[in-house]
């Protein structure tokens, strides 16, 4: 049973592991199953033809030069401790095996060979640290952070700004309204409450077209208002906070009123501290929800916007770097890591908030 759980975890978190592993590897190795750095690496055998016109080729860190009767091979990566070249002719006879070379003398020349086909292979010995660095690197993250066309640090700031301000304002608006619904009587209360609740039954995507039209007419495209304001009316928030506030005993309010406290004071000094945990949960849920609100952020930002958020930035980045898997995974990592870290610290509240009664995303 325990084994099931471990296997299940690996299975469910597999994309997450794969993303992290890929983003930490050097270019070209990200998507391979190579996870343990190799101290001894054998490259090749590569084919080689002697007896043609002079020619030079580069294969990653290998350089080969051939001419009519000789050739030279060089290894240009600086981190190898010992390099051995082995040259075989077409019948499989070993022709030349070089002594172990090092980074100062890292190439060999073979002279006066009869023309024909040969093959060669290269054996590279590395120290542990060199082997580690030949597989793992933070370079991808550096490239992502410093990319001038796709400033991911700015995207990060924008995402944070949007998620934080939406969550903060949502909590304030919901707390104010929920207090009234929980503890006050006024004409039209039931009607208003059920009008709010009925909006919860309309799936969010149905609001996409008209909200976009509204934001366009307000001239809010590419502005923080366009990104934040349409999401402030969080009906689920009212619903959840009202449930908590109903539980506050009325005697507290009466006592405060006797002491001459105003409504604002009562709200600020009694209600807010008492429902603080619920406010925190609502804040977290809204923060995470807005961080992940890809569709709306895509609509409200045009490509030249200053407020492009992480997922939208990632979508644009992907259009340009389709095959640069390592960098793309680094960018993905960069987008989800803040939420992963937040989750690690607050998972108890996030999960509790969910079971407390949240369905509506």
């Amino acid at each position: 049973m325990f084994l099931c759980l471990v296997l299940g975890t690996i299975f469910v978190l597999f994309p997450f592991f794969w993303m992290t592993a890929t983003s930490l590897k050097v270019e070209g190795k990200g998507m391979t199953f190579e996870f343990i750095p190799k101290r001894v690496e054998v490259l090749g055998p590569f084919k080689l033809q002697v007896g043609t016109a002079p020619e030079g080729k580069m294969k990653n860190d290998l350089t080969e030069l051939t001419s009519d009767s000789s050739f030279a091979i060089g290894w240009s990566a600086p981190e190898a401790d010992g390099i051995t070249f082995e040259i075989t002719d077409q019948d499989g006879n070993k022709k030349i095996e070089s002594p172990s070379l090092n980074k100062d003398k890292n190439w060999i020349v073979a002279n006066s060979l009869p023309s024909g086909n040969y093959s060669y292979q290269v054996t590279i010995n590395r120290s542990w640290s060199a082997a580690w660095h030949s597989l793992y690197t933070l370079e991808n993250f550096r490239k992502i952070a410093l990319n001038p066309n796709y400033p991911f640090l700015k995207f990060l700031r924008n995402s944070f700004m949007v998620a934080f301000s939406t969550a903060f304002l949502t909590v304030i608006l919901c707390a104010l309204a929920a207090y009234v619904f929980a503890k006050k009587e006024f004409p039209g209360k039931q009607v208003l409450f059920w009008t709010f609740m009925s909006a919860m039954m309309i799936p969010g995507m149905m609001f996409m077209v008209p909200q976009f039209a509204l934001v366009t007419r307000f001239g809010w495209i590419n502005t923080i208002f366009g990104l934040v304001v349409p999401h402030l009316a969080n009906v689920f928030g009212i619903f959840m906070l009202r449930q908590m506030m109903i539980g506050i005993p009325d005697s507290l309010f009466e006592a405060a009123r006797m002491d001459g406290a105003s409504e604002a004071t009562i709200f600020y000094r009694i209600v807010v501290p008492l429902v603080m945990p619920s406010l925190a949960i609502l804040f977290l849920l809204t923060f995470v929800g807005q961080w992940n609100n890809f569709l709306w952020q895509l609509l409200v930002n045009t490509p030249e916007s200053d407020l492009i958020t992480l997922p939208v930035g990632l979508a644009m980045f992907r259009g340009q770097y389709e095959t640069q898997w390592e960098q793309m995974m680094a960018a993905s990592c960069f987008s989800v890591m803040p939420i992963v870290i937040l989750f690690l610290f607050t998972q108890r509240y996030l999960i509790e908030g969910l079971t407390a009664g949240g369905v509506k995303e």
Partner: protein, 332 residues
């Protein structure tokens, strides 16, 4: 009465104002917009205030739009793939976790983690996993010495693209169902299981005869929210296939024969493509309204299913408990 209003208004006004402008008005405006269309005289820089009344034209177009019907059928197919997988995985995980093994808290968090991450980003990661040649599937088959299963990766295969998307979405989303199931299972009184033990029920019998029926409200909730989620599915399609691969259907298929359809073009994505890509705002509004009419009964059902989940669960379990008690009493 007047005084009570006066104290209430400052508290209510901010929320009500935002609600009225950004939820209530749009709901009405959406319907109005569906009767408008852009003409060649429309000033595109202020398109929303310069569209012309066109009566039911958008709805007429929708009625004959084979792409729309196709997207609905694909949505149904997607729902049929995702929902059972999701329910099975969540329920299995939850019932294993409910045994209170060491580290249960850790595993609960681990399973739930993918659920808080951005669907779009996770879907991008899945495109890397599914990628042709470099992807995990192609490398695994190559390592086992098998032939490539999919010519250009699973997401370019008209038959397998949708199951591929479904698997990735289920793995991401099942943590949510697991948490709900876990809470429901922990609410089941232990006596029921103890009574079943006395009757000599096997673990499998306890699972199918006690656990599964008692968590039925959650299952219903997951089915309904699953259908709604499928109707609104967007990010995963946008990230993974963009509605592709497009196939021209053979004439033998009734109704759709001869048309070209995106094999992963779900209704939510179709709405997006009409709205954002083709910029047919009036038509997109009409699609919204049609989808709303389809989803509204389900939404209402899910709302009340969730409201009543607590009481109905307790009622069900007490009935079952009574039944079991009488049976054990007879046995003794």
């Amino acid at each position: 009465m007047n005084r009570s209003l006066k104290t209430v208004i400052p508290f209510l006004l901010p929320f009500t104002a935002v609600f009225a402008v950004f939820l209530l008005y749009p709901a009405v405006y959406s319907v109005y917009l569906s009767f408008l269309k852009a003409t060649i005289y429309t000033d595109l820089s202020r398109i929303f205030s310069d569209m012309k009344w066109c009566g039911l034209e958008n709805y007429q177009k929708l009625l004959y739009d084979t792409n729309f019907y196709w997207s609905l059928i694909m949505t149904l197919y997607y729902a049929v793939l995702v929902i059972p997988m999701n329910i099975a995985l969540s329920l299995v995980l939850a019932s294993i976790l409910s045994n209170e093994l060491p580290g249960a808290k850790f595993f609960r968090a681990a399973f739930y983690l993918p659920n808080v991450l951005d669907l779009f980003v996770i879907a991008v990661v899945w495109t890397a996993i599914y990628a042709p040649n470099y992807g995990v599937i192609d490398q695994l088959t190559a390592a086992l010495g098998l032939e490539k299963i999919f010519e250009n990766g699973i997401l370019a295969d008209p038959w397998w693209a949708m199951p591929g998307i479904a698997v990735s979405v289920v793995l991401k989303g099942s943590g949510f169902g697991m948490i709900l199931y876990l809470a429901a299972i922990q609410n089941i009184p232990r006596d029921i299981y103890e009574a079943a033990d006395i009757d000599g029920a096997s673990a499998w019998q306890k699972f199918t005869k006690i656990t599964v029926p008692l968590v039925k409200p959650i299952t219903l909730l997951l089915v309904v929210t699953g259908i709604l989620g499928s109707l609104m599915a967007f990010s995963e399609i946008y990230a993974m296939t963009g509605g592709r691969p497009y196939e021209t259907l053979p004439d033998s298929i009734p109704f759709f024969g001869g048309t070209t359809q995106g094999t992963t073009n779900l209704s939510g994505y179709y709405l997006f493509s009409k709205f954002y890509v083709a910029q047919e705002y009036g038509y997109a509004a009409a699609i919204s309204v049609a989808l709303l009419i389809i989803s509204l009964p389900l939404s209402i059902l899910s709302f009340f299913a969730f409201q009543s989940e607590g009481p109905s669960l307790r009622k069900l379990s007490s009935i079952l408990l009574k039944k079991l008690r009488s049976r054990t009493a007879k046995a003794i």
